[in-house]
Every structure is written in structure tokens, then in C-alpha cells.
């Protein structure tokens, strides 16, 4: 006969020697873990509440400029280096680690309209309303500049923006027309235009490096291939676009910040219809930037708020504002996509967290795992009303709230009008879709 009963010794089950780490016994049998889903739900609810508790997105304000900040650019290789240019012609370099100013220089007479780092990160190009482009040398190791102008390019008109091609010494500027420059040449290599309107923004595609997009003042977005001498495509939208951004991961996706208070994403392979519309702003959207991961866009608006939109959602994930922040003319994601910078009319650059409740600083592996687990749970139960309300609710300034209400009323009235008309005419109501409504024509 053989009999066995459970018999455990404490030493064996915990630690045999005092210096041992304690053993953790796991048995994943579901019978031992009752109420799995309810417990997960409670955990999700707790973490979503804690998220709101810990949501402190504002980190610091970088002051020093004496006028509104109209352009910002991040350094191609250094995460913590950012340059900003203001209306009074001053360019400043910032150190984001210490949140201090690196250098400041009076670069232009009048507005600094555009900034660009060269791909090697050793020099910077700026353009202004004084019809000049200046190339600055950055001094290693601190990446400061000592007034070392490498070269000055003189243009015929005031410039409105500048962008540098990746991995080459070519850059593009906009003004009355789009001009392509080389570092070594004092005159533009190419001059391209389509129509007579001024061009406000020019951006190189970071993947298809020869592709160039520009916004004009007459509501158009024009695409150029710089290998050819003429523009390729033109998209005319219902209202004017203020800024443009290319998705750094998907070469064919771009987003435009529009005057009609929305942000549209287009697939350039088919411009007849926008892919997504992001519509939460209540003032015209002035600047836009993709996160380096290509998953989110940040927008700055005339309604004095910053919003972050996930790629595939109509609604914004986050809205940032402060009492003192004025109209936002430039926004920027940092290279690690953890922070957002906003330059506004009130002469300050503000640093925000991209994920408002994310902990700053180094976190332990256990902490990281726990956060990941919580994220997964939130994802799992995100549609449950209790969790959804807590996760999505944001307080907004009174004027934004009111304006949003009015916007909503206008929208409802319009649809009501259409349906009423349809009722009386006997034809089915044809409510135009937002995505296709936006595009007016595409020319080739």
C-alpha cells in the first residue's frame, strides 16, 4: 500500500537559506483565480482613474523670446536640442534636458519665418522676411552658435518657410514661388510655381525625399517632384491650409492643418477624398506635427489649445491649454515622441508631456510591466461607459466649450435643413460626407 499526502516544508516553499530570494509559486488554473473579468474590470477602472489623477502634462515654460514664436525645429541627431525663431528676428537654441537656453542670436531683420537643420546636424539654415537665407555653423560639442555665418543667400522676395531635404545638401524655400537651393550655390537651382498665389509652407517628404508639398494662400496644396522642373499635382480644398506635415513612417500620408478648424489626412495616391478628418478644434488650426512614430499628430490652434489626435480617430485624445497661453503658431514633437513643444504669441515655448499621466524619469522594469498591463486592461474595457467617460472627459476653457456647443448646433441645423428639404421634395436626404466635402478639385 502506498499513501501520499501533501506535505510542505516552509524552507522548501519559501527560501532554503536566508540569503535566497523568496520563491513565488504560480498555478494558473482558472479555478484558483475566480472573478477574473470583474477583477480586471476593477483594475482597469482604477488605473483609468489614476491616470486622471496623475495627468499633469505641463512641464515647463521656456522663456526668453521677446516676441511671438513662429517657427520651431528639432535637431536631427540630438534629442534635447531644439531651435526656435521669433517675430523679432531672434533665433534661440534650447537645451531640453536642463530646460535652458543654449544660445541666442539676432539673425534677421523682421520675422524669422523658417528654420532647418542640415542633415549632419552641424549647421542650421534660417530664412526671414528680410529676403535672406542664412546658414549658421553650430559649434561642437555644445552645439551653440557664435555668430559664425557660413553663407548668406539672397532672394528676390521675402521667404515664408524653409525645409531641408534628407541626406543631401539641398533645401527648399517658399515665398512667391518654391525655390530649390544647394549649400554651395548662391542662386536657386530651380524655381517652380503654379498659379499666382503666394506659398506659405513647404515640406519635403522624409521618405520619398524628392517629393515636396506646399500650401498656397489660394487654398491649394501643390506637390512637386524636384527631379522634374514643374509641379506634379494640385489639390484645392474648401478653405486654406495653414500648415502641412508628412507622416514620417508612411511616405504616402500627409496631414494638413486647415482654416476650417479641422485637420485632414490625405493619401497622396488618391487625393479625391481625405482619409481621416480630425475635428475637435474650434479655431483655425495653425500648425501641425507628426509624432516620430507616425501614430499621432499634434496640432496648435487659434483657439489657444493644443490637441493630440491618434491617426485613426475623429476625436482628439488630449487637449492642453493654460490660462496664459495665447494663440499657438508652432507645435513640435520631440524626437523621442514623449514631449510636445508649443510656441505661442505670448513669447513662451511650453513643454508638455505627450502622454499626460506618464511618469517622468527612469522607471523600473516592474513599474513598466505594470503600466503595460494597465494599458492593456484599459484597452480591453475601453468601451464600457463608466471607463469611457472617465478616460475621455476633459475640461476645456469656457470659450472653447461654448464655441463647440455653437458649432454642434450649426451642424445639427444644417443636417435638419437638408432632411427637411428632402422630406418636402420627396427625394432621399443626401447629407454630404465630411471627408469628400473638403476636397474641391484635384489637378494634374
Amino acid at each position: 500500500m502506498k499513501i501520499k499526502v501533501i506535505s510542505r516544508s516552509e524552507e522548501e516553499q519559501t527560501k532554503e537559506v536566508a540569503s535566497d530570494t523568496r520563491k513565488l509559486h504560480r498555478n494558473l488554473d482558472p479555478a484558483l483565480h475566480p472573478f477574473e473579468r470583474p477583477r480586471e474590470y476593477v483594475r482597469a477602472l482604477n488605473s483609468v482613474k489614476l491616470d486622471r489623477v496623475f495627468a499633469k502634462p505641463f512641464i515647463a515654460s521656456l522663456s526668453g523670446h521677446t516676441d511671438g514664436i513662429f517657427s520651431m525645429i528639432r535637431h536631427p541627431t540630438l534629442l534635447n536640442t531644439v531651435a526656435s525663431g521669433s517675430c523679432d528676428g531672434v533665433i534661440k537654441l534650447w537645451n531640453l534636458t536642463t530646460l535652458t537656453q543654449r544660445t541666442s542670436i539676432q539673425a534677421h531683420d523682421g520675422f524669422v519665418r523658417g528654420l532647418a537643420f542640415t542633415p549632419d546636424g552641424k549647421s542650421m539654415i534660417s530664412c526671414g522676411e528680410d529676403k535672406t537665407i542664412k546658414m549658421w555653423k553650430l559649434d561642437l560639442p555644445e552645439y551653440t552658435f557664435n555668430n559664425d555665418i557660413i553663407s548668406v543667400f539672397n532672394g528676390k522676395n521675402a521667404f515664408t518657410s524653409i525645409d531641408h531635404q534628407r541626406n543631401s545638401n539641398t533645401f527648399a524655400t517658399s515665398g512667391l514661388s518654391v525655390e530649390i537651393w544647394k549649400h554651395q550655390r548662391s542662386t536657386p537651382l530651380q524655381t517652380m510655381s503654379w498659379g499666382h498665389a503666394g506659398i506659405t509652407k513647404v515640406k519635403f517628404n522624409p521618405i520619398e525625399t524628392n517629393l515636396l508639398a506646399s500650401c498656397t494662400t489660394d487654398r491649394a496644396i501643390i506637390f512637386y517632384d524636384i527631379r522634374e522642373n514643374s509641379p506634379a499635382q494640385k489639390l484645392i480644398t474648401s478653405m486654406r491650409s495653414n500648415s502641412i506635415a508628412w507622416n514620417p513612417v508612411e511616405s504616402y500620408t500627409m496631414a494638413i492643418a486647415n482654416e476650417d478648424e479641422n485637420v485632414y489626412q490625405y493619401d497622396i495616391r488618391n487625393l479625391s477624398k481625405a482619409v481621416t478628418v480630425h475635428r475637435d478644434h474650434v479655431g483655425s488650426v495653425l500648425d501641425i506635427d507628426y509624432s516620430p512614430t507616425g501614430k499621432e499628430v499634434v496640432t496648435g490652434s487659434y483657439d489657444k489649445t493644443i490637441r493630440i489626435f491618434p491617426m485613426d480617430s475623429f476625436k482628439s485624445r488630449e487637449v492642453y491649454f493654460t490660462n496664459r497661453m495665447q494663440r499657438i503658431f508652432s507645435v513640435l514633437f520631440t524626437g523621442d515622441s514623449r514631449f510636445i513643444l508649443s510656441g505661442s504669441d505670448d513669447m513662451n515655448i511650453r513643454v508638455w508631456k505627450a502622454n499626460s499621466s506618464a511618469p517622468l524619469g527612469v522607471i523600473t522594469n516592474r513599474q513598466k510591466e505594470s503600466l503595460e498591463y494597465q494599458d492593456k486592461l484599459k484597452e480591453k474595457f475601453k468601451e464600457i461607459p463608466e471607463i469611457k467617460t472617465i478616460a475621455t472627459h476633459r475640461r476645456v476653457p469656457k470659450n472653447v466649450y461654448k464655441r463647440r456647443f455653437i458649432k454642434n448646433e450649426i451642424h445639427k441645423a444644417q443636417t435638419r435643413k437638408l432632411t427637411n428639404a428632402a422630406k418636402n421634395s420627396g427625394k432621399p436626404a443626401k447629407i454630404p460626407k465630411v471627408l469628400s466635402k473638403h476636397t474641391i478639385t484635384v489637378e494634374k
Partner: protein, 602 residues
């Protein structure tokens, strides 16, 4: 049967004697250790199927449908194949996959389909680890959504497989008895069992004589480490019983009707003659629950932090002990005679002297389920760990097993010699029946084929309550004179989970666990029959309106006379026809009648 055959086919070359020994051993494995059988059987799934095929070949007239139905019937009641049961459940849910898994070799399917199914297959042992349902992507047009749903399904399967793989890390083995040839396990007395086990275990068989303080009720903590003894005359004590240490002891001088631990050993509730009280481990009174007037039974729901008092006045009071608030006060009709909780869904089962068992949740003022179990009064109720079976005992000397999964039907019943005072089911489904001075232990109570008890134990005094100690092979028996603990090999789960309940938890772990448990307290209104319904997809919703409609069938009021609208229509139609006929007869008479015809005599 199936397993025996497997063994025979695999060990065909071995000597007969050895084979027999193997058989018995295998039987015991299967009986005692649910978990390790899983390993031995299911990891190499393919081999299993091969063997099945052999078996099938042996049978001359083989009909796959018949064998399937037969298999269902057998497995339905088998305790040792509980996993199979669960798989059956899953099989109903996702028929697709099950079709793939079960005997698909025989079905003549397209080769492509077969290939696909093989890649999707989940090993048998992993099925119990599948969380929720795997939703099919049929009918979804959006390619992104479809892709995502498919991906989720795949991930679920992967997770289940990974969970199954961790089974090989389980270190402890469950207890068992392998009798000699011709020997019956129920002939073994505790003295004999003690001789065959180690000293530590043999020291756990003891009797406590606490004579003057009357019949004792007891409770174990969740991890099985501490024991609470409460005598009817007002004496209670807490023991760290595995170490033989007394934590505290007190005599209240007032009668105690029931007692139970709260979430850990530091606090416990006592149902006294007038009110329910909460004491700490030092025996100091912490709370006096005035609302719980005249309590009879107590239960504690650890994941909801709810203390449930069932009173003689017909009240079922749910008290949230973490915030000290009364969550629900329900009323029941009838004389209460037994109580138990369902560990899987926190439903409270009340047994009455009328023979019915009612199930209560705090959200509903009426019982959600009523089962007429016995024709006489119920003496005790118990629900097993997985929440699938309920066992009841009545004054009619019957012990009955009910299926709680969906039918609430009686599965089978067996008779006892005398009225069972108390019953208890262990975590591995060993049923203990305390009747008079005897304790009967049944190994596979849900299996209709089992005819003999597993063990028997005789006491010198009448039993008041039996209860298995979690994670140990121990049965605690509260008697008229005191308490005794006996060894029941194979009654405890060998491998505990430190994150849930650790018998060797350090002070710090206990503290942290308490805080975590409080943070994860499930709201009381989430107690339902199916606890895992939250966050699942509501199916069969066609329109937006349907979403808000009640899913269950409309209740029929029995007092109201229900008339079929079709019948009414028919009657109306008939009446209308008659009327028309009459009118047409008057307007256009077919036969001429004299005005005086009605006065004429026929």
C-alpha cells in the same frame, strides 16, 4: 475506460502484472491529481488521437456520431474528466474549432481546410486556460476589424498554450492512496494512514477535546493556515493549526451560532444570539453590527469584501466590511436550514426546511434561482470550487448532486445510513458527509458509476460541521465535544498560487495582498450568475434599437388568461362571415318565405 485502454495500447508489451499495477496507478493519478493528469495526457495530443484511432478501428461497426454522443453522455457526469466537461462547454461556444479538434480525421474534409484546422488547433489541456470566447470574424466586412478580431483570437490561443506550458513548473504532487490488491480504501482507518505518511503529516491528525463548550463550528482562512473554532456556548479560539500555535482564545459567555473569517486571519465575524460582531485576532471586539439582528449563518465573500448574515427573521444582509456599509438587505421566506456560497460567482445559496434551495444576489430582491431539491428539510448545501455542481443533503437521508452550469437538474442521488448533518466538497472534488458520528468521504461524487466511498471515519461524538482545509489533505470536523482533524489523501490542491493565497506568506506579503485586495474590491452589484459577462460582446444585435431591448424572454403572468391572437382572428372572421351570410340572406333571399312562417309549427 478510455484511459485504461490508452494505457493498454501503449504498454502492450509489458507484463500483465505490471500493467495492472500501472492501471491502478493511473486510476489514482486520474482520481487524485487533476492537474498532473493533464500533463500526462494532453501534452502529446497527437499520440492521443492515434490511440483513439486504434480504438475506433477495433470496433467493427463504427459510427462517429454515435461515439460522439456516447462520449458526451459518459463525460457529462464524470468528475475526473471535468476538463473534458469544460471543453465541451467551450465546444458549444465555438463549434468551429471543436469540429476541428474532435475526430476530424474521420470526417472527409477538404485538404486545405484540414491543414488550416491543424494550424489552429489548441491542445486539449490548454482549453481550460482560454479566457472567454474566441469570437469569429464571420460577417465582418471591414478588413481592419476582421484582421484585428482574428488576431485577438490567435493571441488568446497563444496565451492558453503558454499557460498550459507553465504546468510543467508545478512542483508539488497531489496526495493519493494506492491500496494493495483486494484491499478497499474505505477499510483504512486514520491510524493506518498515519503509519504510511511522514511525521509532519501524521502530527496533523488530532482531536481537541473542548467538552463543556458544546458543538463546534469552524472556518479556515483562504490559505488554510489558520483555523477558527467557535463553540455554541460562547467559546472561540484561533489557531495557527499547522504549527500547533494558539493565536488567541476567549469565552464570550453568550451563545455563538456561526463564525467565519473575514479576508484574512486578523479579523473574523461571529453570529451571536442577538447580533453579528466582528473581532480581531486577539479576541477584541471591533464592531457590533446592529442591523444584523438574530443571525443564524454567516458567509464572507472575499473578493467583494461582503459579510453576509442570514437571520432567523428572514433577512439576508450584505455588509461591505471595507467601508462598513450595508449594501443589501434581502428578505427570504421559509425556515433557513443551510447556507453556502458559490466560490465562482459569489451567489449565496440558502437551503430551507421546505426542501428548496434559493440563490440570492445582492442586486435582486427575489431569488434568482429556486431549486426544489428534497421533499424534506435540507440539512446542508455545498458547491464545488469550479461552481459547476451543488450537493445537498436532506432529512430524507439523501445526498443529491445538481448541475449548476445551465440546467439546475439533479444529476444523481445517493442514500446515506442516517441524516447527513453537514457536507463539504474539497477543492479537488472529494465529498465529505458528516452523519451522526460517522464521516463518509466520496472521491468522485459527480460520477454515477462510483459505488463505494473513498474513506470512512468514525468519531466518538456527533458531528456538527465538516470542512476541508484548503491546500492541505486535511478534513476538519467540528463535533459536540470539540474538533478533530483527519487526513484525506488527495483532497487538497497541491500547487497553490502565491498571488491568491499563500500558506507561507510573510508579513509584508500579507500586508501588500490586503491592500491590493481592497483596491480590487469588486462592486457588489457586479455579482451575477455569470461573473465573466462584463466586457463581452452582446450577440444577435441587429439594430441599434435591439441593443437596448431586454435579452431574456418576457415573463408570463400566469394569472392572466392568454388568448392566441390567431384564434381571435379566426373567430372574428367566422362571425363576420356568418353576419354577411345572414345579411345577404335578408337582402337577396334565395328561398321565398311567407311572412307568417315563423308562427308556423314544424
Amino acid at each position: 475506460m478510455l484511459k485504461k485502454d490508452i494505457k493498454k495500447t501503449t504498454s502492450g508489451k509489458k507484463s500483465v502484472k505490471k500493467e495492472q499495477e500501472n492501471d491502478t496507478l493511473d486510476q489514482h493519478w486520474k482520481n487524485t491529481n487533476l492537474y498532473s493528469t493533464e500533463e500526462s495526457n494532453h501534452i502529446d495530443d497527437d499520440e492521443d488521437i492515434d490511440i483513439k484511432r486504434e480504438q475506433e478501428d477495433d470496433e467493427d461497426t463504427y459510427n462517429p456520431l454515435e461515439s460522439l454522443s456516447k462520449k458526451r453522455k459518459i463525460t457529462e457526469f464524470k468528475n475526473d474528466k471535468q476538463e473534458d466537461d469544460q471543453q465541451d462547454q467551450y465546444s458549444i461556444k465555438n463549434e468551429q474549432e471543436d469540429d476541428d479538434d474532435e475526430d476530424e480525421e474521420d470526417d472527409q474534409q477538404d485538404k486545405n481546410k484540414k491543414k488550416k484546422s491543424e494550424s489552429n488547433r489548441i491542445p486539449k489541456g490548454a482549453r481550460k486556460y482560454i479566457k472567454g470566447e474566441i469570437v469569429g470574424s464571420d460577417g465582418i466586412k471591414n478588413p481592419f476589424l476582421k484582421n484585428r478580431i482574428n488576431k485577438f483570437g490567435e493571441m488568446k490561443k497563444e496565451a492558453a498554450k503558454a499557460a498550459m506550458r507553465t504546468e510543467m513548473l508545478l512542483q508539488q504532487e497531489a496526495g493519493f492512496i494506492i491500496p494493495d490488491e483486494g484491499q478497499k480504501t474505505y477499510e483504512l482507518s486514520q491510524n493506518e494512514i498515519i503509519k504510511h505518511v511522514d511525521i509532519q503529516s501524521s502530527a496533523r491528525v488530532f482531536d481537541l477535546n473542548l467538552t463543556p463548550n458544546g458543538p463546534y463550528t469552524m472556518d479556515f482562512t483562504k490559505n488554510g493556515r489558520h483555523l477558527l473554532l467557535a463553540g455554541e456556548r460562547g467559546h472561540f479560539t484561533i489557531l495557527d493549526w499547522t504549527r500547533g500555535k494558539k493565536v488567541s482564545e476567549r469565552h464570550l459567555g453568550k451563545p455563538i451560532r456561526d463564525a467565519c473569517f473575514l479576508h484574512n486571519e486578523t479579523m473574523f465575524a461571529v453570529a451571536q444570539k442577538k447580533y453579528t460582531y466582528i473581532y480581531n485576532s486577539d479576541g477584541v471586539e471591533l464592531h457590533w453590527l446592529k442591523d444584523h439582528y438574530d443571525p443564524k449563518f454567516l458567509q464572507f465573500l472575499p473578493y467583494h469584501f461582503l459579510l453576509v448574515s442570514a437571520t432567523n427573521k428572514g433577512q439576508l444582509i450584505y455588509e461591505d466590511v471595507s467601508i462598513g456599509q450595508k449594501v443589501a438587505n434581502l428578505h427570504f421566506n421559509g425556515r433557513l436550514s443551510a447556507i453556502c456560497k458559490n466560490p465562482q460567482n459569489a451567489v449565496i445559496n440558502l437551503g430551507y426546511s421546505s426542501g428548496t434551495v434559493e440563490m440570492f444576489i445582492p442586486k435582486s430582491k427575489d431569488p434568482i434561482v429556486k431549486v426544489l431539491c428534497h421533499k424534506t428539510a435540507i440539512t446542508s448545501v455545498a458547491v464545488n470550487l469550479t461552481g459547476d455542481y451543488m450537493v445537498t443533503s436532506g432529512m430524507d437521508k439523501m445526498v443529491k448532486v445538481f448541475d449548476l452550469r445551465n440546467t439546475y437538474q439533479e444529476l444523481h442521488a445517493f442514500q446515506t445510513h442516517s441524516v447527513a448533518n453537514s457536507i463539504s466538497i474539497s477543492d479537488t472534488n472529494v465529498l465529505a458527509i458528516g452523519q451522526g458520528k460517522n464521516t463518509l468521504l466520496w472521491k468522485n461524487p459527480f460520477d454515477t458509476n462510483v459505488r463505494e466511498p473513498y474513506l470512512m471515519h468514525k468519531q466518538s461524538s456527533v458531528i456538527k460541521k465538516v470542512k476541508f482545509c484548503p491546500f492541505e489533505d486535511i478534513l476538519g470536523i467540528g463535533t459536540e465535544t470539540g474538533y478533530s482533524s483527519i487526513l484525506v489523501p488527495g483532497s487538497g490542491i497541491a500547487n497553490y498560487d502565491s498571488m491568491e493565497a499563500d500558506p507561507f506568506a510573510s508579513k509584508k506579503m500579507k500586508k501588500e495582498q490586503e491592500v491590493k485586495a481592497l483596491l480590487e474590491k469588486i462592486p457588489s452589484d457586479m455579482i451575477t450568475l455569470n461573473p465573466n459577462i462584463i466586457g463581452t460582446i452582446q450577440k444577435d444585435v441587429k439594430t441599434e434599437e435591439d441593443k437596448h431591448k431586454r435579452q431574456d424572454k418576457p415573463r408570463v403572468d400566469k394569472n392572466r388568461v392568454y388568448v392566441d391572437p390567431k384564434k381571435i382572428e379566426e373567430i372574428d372572421k367566422r362571425n363576420k362571415e356568418r353576419k354577411e351570410k345572414r345579411e345577404s340572406e335578408i337582402l337577396n333571399p334565395t328561398s321565398v318565405r311567407s311572412a307568417l312562417s315563423r308562427f308556423e309549427k314544424n
